[in-house]
């Protein structure tokens, strides 16, 4: 028998965790002598109060959806892919090469090519740790995290020595040509006398992220491969008994995971910056872990968690712009959310389960 209804597991636990995180954050804000109500107000209006705020919130959320999905797919095979950061960096390199070195007639064709390149580069970067895990037993957590540093060093080398335009002292590529600029929400939704999403970086990639959510859902729950991935994740010995090859599943799951992480680059590199900078991923790969944890590795959960983190990022930026709350505190608030939703799950779950058990006994 289930210990508590499914809705409680999916909705109630994250909600209570969030509430606890919010209360603690409010206490911290109080402790430094600021008004938490005003701070929350500023965050909410700044992130959700205008199409401009939404434009930033959705931009960040798009990044986190890709990296969250990447981590989630690997989770289903019980592989902990911490290398989303490096895979997204390499994805960015792929996007930059496609956009800079090929003359595209139209952005839509360039977008398809950039998607393919980013997935290819991301997957390639995940392939080596996957192979080492599958064939040599090198722990994927260690190898993927080391590969993040190798990716950073590689990107640094490429940008400083090869792709940097002559005369610029900024270690970044040149701007991509006008033809490969993706349509932003501003150009998609604004009318002549009503400008929406002004200057915000959200772009068409958001819809690709939604498609990716649906595709991952279909893959994990509606295909044979997804079944194999889940079976392998639940029990390796059981999977082997059923004729599922651990080597194949490990490598395939990591390739998909790396491809999804790499795909993030079409949002931040092609959509927002329109060039490749050294610090393009800025931690989105790691936030993806929190997003996947919070979203219970389900694409819809990942979508909601990515929105929440997008809100925290944009709200935090507004807080930094207009309030005197130091940016370190904004990191504290983000960390509290991760701590409560990811790491302290049982703290909320256990009392809640007891409560539901008690209620059930009474009604029985």
């Amino acid at each position: 028998m289930e210990k508590m209804p499914k809705w409680a597991d999916v909705v109630l636990i994250p909600l209570i965790s969030l509430l606890l995180a919010a209360i603690l954050s409010a206490l911290v804000i109080l402790a430094i002598g600021e008004n938490p109500v005003e701070a929350v107000n500023l965050m909410v209006t700044g992130a959700l109060g205008s199409t401009y705020g939404w434009g930033y919130t959705l931009y960040y959320a798009t990044n986190f959806m890709f990296t969250g999905l990447a981590v989630a797919v690997a989770f289903h095979a019980r592989l902990f892919n911490i290398g989303g950061e490096g895979q997204a960096m390499l994805g960015g390199l792929g996007v930059a090469m496609v956009c800079l070195y090929v003359d595209w007639p139209h952005w839509s064709i360039a977008l398809l090519a950039a998607c393919a390149a980013s997935m290819l580069f991301g997957a390639a970067w995940a392939a080596i740790p996957a192979y080492l895990q599958a064939k040599r037993g090198s722990h994927i957590v260690i190898t993927t995290i080391m590969f993040n540093f190798i990716a950073a060093a590689f990107l640094n080398y490429m940008l400083v020595n090869i792709m940097r335009p002559q005369g610029s002292q900024d270690p970044a590529t040149a701007r991509f040509p006008e033809t490969v600029h993706l349509p932003t929400f501003q150009s998609m939704f604004s009318t002549a006398d009503n400008v929406l999403f002004r200057g915000a970086p959200a772009n068409i990639t958001f819809f690709i992220a939604l498609l990716a959510c649906v595709a991952v859902w279909a893959l994990i729950w509606r295909t044979r491969l997804g079944y194999e991935i889940r079976a392998y994740g639940h029990s390796e010995t059981g999977a082997v008994y059923a004729g599922i090859s651990p080597v194949r599943i490990t490598i395939v799951a990591m390739l998909i995971s790396g491809a999804l992480a790499g795909l993030m680059a079409i949002n931040n590199v092609m959509g927002e910056a329109e060039r490749l900078v050294l610090n393009s991923t800025e931690g989105a790969g790691f936030i993806g872990i929190a997003v996947a944890l919070m979203g219970r590795s389900h694409p819809f959960g990942v979508f909601l968690a990515a929105l929440l983190f997008g809100f925290l990022y944009q709200g935090g930026a507004e807080l930094a712009l207009w309030a005197s709350i130091p940016r370190e505190l904004i990191v504290v608030i983000q960390a509290l959310v991760i701590l409560f939703t990811g790491a302290l799950d049982n703290m909320v779950r256990m009392p809640l389960e007891k409560l539901f058990m008690a209620l059930r006994k009474e009604s029985a």
Binding site: S168, A273, L278, N279, R327
Partner: protein
Amino acid sequence: MSDLWGLSWPRTNYNKREYEMTLMKSLMGAAAAIALTAGAAMAEPALIFDLGGKFDKSFNEAAHNGASRWAEETGGSYREIEIQSEAQREQALRRFAEAGANPIITMGFGMADPLSAVAGDYPDTKFVAVDVNWLDIPNIRQIGFAEHEGSYLVGMMAAMASESGTVGFIGGMDIPLIRHFGCGYAQGAKAVNPEIEVVANMTGTTPAAWNDPVKGSELTKAQISQGADVIYAAAGGTGVGVLQTAADEGILSIGVDSNQNHLHPGKVLTSMLKRVDVAVYDAMKAGDGLETGVFQMGLAEEGVGYALDDNNAPLVSDDMKGAVDKARQDIIDGNISVVSYYENDSCPALQF
């Protein structure tokens, strides 16, 4: 820290002096005071710190010091933000420009590209870009520092102070700006002693490299084991670890950006000064009347130089001082030319 967090809303830096001034103004007459504060509010400058953050003990902190000095002296107030992500560069520029801030001062080469996208949309706003000098936009004051010339001088001093014939260089990340520092340093050292060995290391490949004193300490020990007895750190907060370990191990170190001689008196040979604080102070002081264009701050403009104070006076012999001052004059006069790494993206004295 109360002065840091006890700020009013929205973020504006007031201080005691301004408070006293406002008091005085209200005594002098409310109408005059309103006119004065209204004028000040229209031209409130804004300062955008780079990702390293305001208190990085180095580049950004120098800007903070310059801005605080301006606020203290004039009683003015300014807006500021420490950006946290790449997407916020353009966001902060636009938000400040739309809020009427003028001039808007930005830190670091990373702002060059966002500025080139934004500056044209706000032709009446003046922007200041520190560490950028390659844009062609009329309403930007671009300030480039001749770090290679200052580094050349401290490189000469390092070579003269070295007994082992090996000197060290520890950079933050392997980017053109840091190679530019290292290249000037190596040229200066080789000008004194052509046989000298220059050991160069970079701290890391991620932005964390700018604030990793432990790694700085490890690299210092590694360079000491290779024979280095003077080490120059151009690595932001990481340099704190370099200077500390050099002092602990009994060798000399060279600070960067700000005067860091006081950190370990008698153990820091000198510091390569990069007067970001002066650049920010001057820009804020000029306010609306700020001159735009490209400004090169070299030895002649005293934008860069070496630090000499009570803390390092015993380490700098008269010979050393004479030679360095002569070289300084020769560089200004054009008799010595220090090759900039930027010219051909290569360095004659050091391989990276």
